[in-house]
């Protein structure tokens, strides 16, 4: 490509247009860069900078002096810290377990025979996803109130709750929140798993059937291993999301006359430290704990599952 034997003037004389074009290109900005310029300020201001600033706060005190890990040890010994982390870990564990078992199970059941009933079921499972956030919590506050719930016989006889406050007794809460999260989120994941199952070549299934495998064997031995990375993706993502729990306990706190503390989850504790006590450094330390969990999960998904290609 290069023309070492010629001076630039000679080269220009030989290939006048080519070289000028090449020079023009070299002087221009790198290809594609201008297109990401409008996006960069947002990535920096609301992606990178908040993380760095939170870390900065977490390792300093109110006067800006460096304190090492003191904010972390201080918040860790707060009497509300360990209970809050226990709550979210129990909640996340229950939610993750039900999510993996039932999402994979239902997707496999639906995929057993692809037909119109299957798509109707998928739609029914998926629809509650529209009621995310505060709306889903409100719906379930009604569902857990034995006075009005269509499932009041279940509340009364299985849960033994005659009153709303008994339904949301502290021991029930991790399970109640897991159920709400499952109700809103499972359908979307079922649709995704079903989509992943559809990418399995028919010949593969056909071959297994000819070899005498029944639908049960095909589901567990053939299909399940082939969607393994999607299950891993769902599990890691849900784990990270689960630890961030905020809105559910926040609304239940408002509906429970303070019976459920407003520091039930870790994010709530961080929020209260910032808002009620003005302890931004302590809040930042807890936010940093949660941030590390989220970051680890994200890095794990990006680098290990191979689901998100970064090469073109």
């Amino acid at each position: 490509m290069s023309l070492p034997a010629l001076t630039s003037r000679q080269a220009e004389a030989a290939h006048p247009r080519g070289l000028r074009a090449a020079r023009m290109r070299a002087r221009r900005v790198p290809r594609g860069l201008p297109f990401i310029v409008p996006y960069l300020p947002f990535l920096i201001a609301f992606g990178i900078a908040p993380m760095l600033y939170a870390l900065d706060l977490a390792f300093t005190n109110a006067n800006g002096g460096v304190t090492g890990f003191r904010n972390f040890t201080r918040t860790f010994t707060d009497y509300r810290f360990v209970p809050a982390f226990n709550h979210i870990l129990l909640y996340t564990g229950v939610w993750l377990g039900t999510l993996i078992v039932f999402v994979v199970g239902l997707a496999l059941l639906l995929h057993g025979r692809a037909n119109r009933t299957s798509s109707a079921f998928r739609f029914l499972f998926y629809m509650p996803g529209a009621l995310a956030g505060a709306a889903s919590v409100l719906v379930w506050l009604f569902m857990l109130d034995p006075a009005v719930s269509p499932g009041s016989f279940l509340l009364r006889h299985v849960l033994g709750a005659q009153l709303f406050v008994q339904s949301i007794a502290p021991g029930n809460l991790p399970f109640v929140f897991a159920m709400i999260a499952f109700w809103t989120g499972a359908g979307g994941w079922i649709v995704v798993m079903y989509g992943a199952l559809n990418t399995i070549p028919h010949e593969l299934e056909e071959a297994a059937r000819i070899d005498g495998a029944g639908p049960f064997t095909i589901a567990l031995r053939l299909k399940l291993p082939l969607i393994r990375k999607w299950v891993a993706y769902m599990a890691i993502l849900s784990f990270a999301t689960g630890t961030q729990l905020f809105i559910e306990p926040q609304l239940v706190n408002e509906a429970s006359l303070g019976m459920v503390p407003d520091t039930w989850s870790s994010n709530q504790l961080a929020y209260q430290l910032a808002f009620r006590y003005g302890d931004f450094n302590g809040a930042a330390a807890i936010a940093a704990d949660l941030l590390v969990i989220g970051l680890l999960a994200a890095v794990l998904i990006v680098t290990r599952t191979g689901l998100f290609g970064r090469e073109d």
Binding site: S152, A196, A240, A284, I286, A298
Partner: protein
């Protein structure tokens, strides 16, 4: 044996269908009944249309039409943020997919990591940052963070990297079209499906976001509907007997609360109805070849 297996499959599916559908059905029917009737009548019975109108009058009268303001705020925040997302994310995805510049991989990896991280993990850090800039309480403290939507960049990136033939764009360049013209006249029209997808996901994410506006807004007249619902919840005696007197005055009981919830999810429900297919494509698009 086979018939038994098939029957079992249907029973399991039907049981879950009940679990998923009945709460939605209850929510749709609740505003048709008065609060007392909700307790006494069968949970899934229909009351009357007149009751819906009554419930709406009570809801609308609450705190000087604040419910309308909440819906309006949600529309304002979600639509303006989504407009900014479209204007920044589509070109960014294009640039990342077809560009060659130093730092491209870093930007891409950072985008991916922030996209997969739960959004809630960034709320308190964003709050702390905005607080130090004295932006708390401003409408911009909701719209600007909402305008950062790395998933949209990723969707556009995957689309341009896999679905748009590079030769087509190169041909346009050889014909003398500059970088901008190539994008404007070739790449952008090709991205129509992805623009719709990014619109859906960004709008839904913004509409349903509770934590960020809850943390950064102070005045209830600025609340989006999600935070407004929690405000409504704390002023009803249905779950807060302590609010008894206040509840009588504001006339917010279970039917009003159910109606408020129902109206709040209509925009997202419409988007959901339209986007079940889009969801699969969006989630699977990058990783699995159809």
């Amino acid at each position: 044996m086979r018939i038994a297996a098939r029957g079992l499959r249907l029973v399991i599916l039907a049981a879950f269908a009940v679990f998923f559908a009945v709460p939605v059905l209850w929510l749709i029917l609740a505003p048709t009944k008065a609060d007392g009737a909700l307790v006494t009548s069968s949970p899934l019975s229909f009351g009357s249309f007149h009751q819906i109108a009554l419930a709406w009058d009570h809801l609308d009268a609450f705190s000087d039409h604040i419910y309308r303001a909440w819906i309006g705020n949600s529309l304002l925040y979600a639509l303006s943020a989504t407009a900014i997302v479209l204007a920044t994310a589509i070109p960014a995805g294009y640039g990342l997919a077809l560009g060659k510049f130093p730092g491209r991989r870093v930007v891409l990896t950072l985008t991916l990591v922030v996209m997969i991280m739960p959004a809630a993990a960034l709320v308190l850090p964003i709050f702390l940052e905005l607080n130090s800039l004295h932006l708390i309480g401003s409408v911009l403290s909701v719209i600007l963070p909402f305008s950062f939507f790395p998933f949209g960049v990723y969707l556009a990136y995957i689309y341009y990297a896999t679905a748009v033939p590079r030769d087509l764009l190169d041909a346009a360049r050889v014909d003398g079209a500059g970088e901008w013209l190539t994008f404007r006249h070739i790449a952008l029209p090709l991205a129509k499906p992805i623009i719709a997808l990014v619109f859906f996901f960004s709008f839904v994410a913004d509409w349903n976001n509770f934590f960020l506006p809850f943390a950064v807004l102070a005045d209830s007249s600025q609340y989006p509907i999600q935070v407004g619902l929690s405000d409504l919840l704390s002023s009803t005696p249905s779950f807060n007997p302590a609010q008894g007197g206040g509840g009588q005055q504001v006339n917010i009981f279970r039917p009003e609360l159910a109606l408020a919830t129902l109206i709040a999810v209509i925009p997202v429900a419409i988007v959901f109805l339209l986007s079940q297919r889009a969801l699969v494509r969006g989630m699977l698009g990058g990783a699995v070849k159809q």
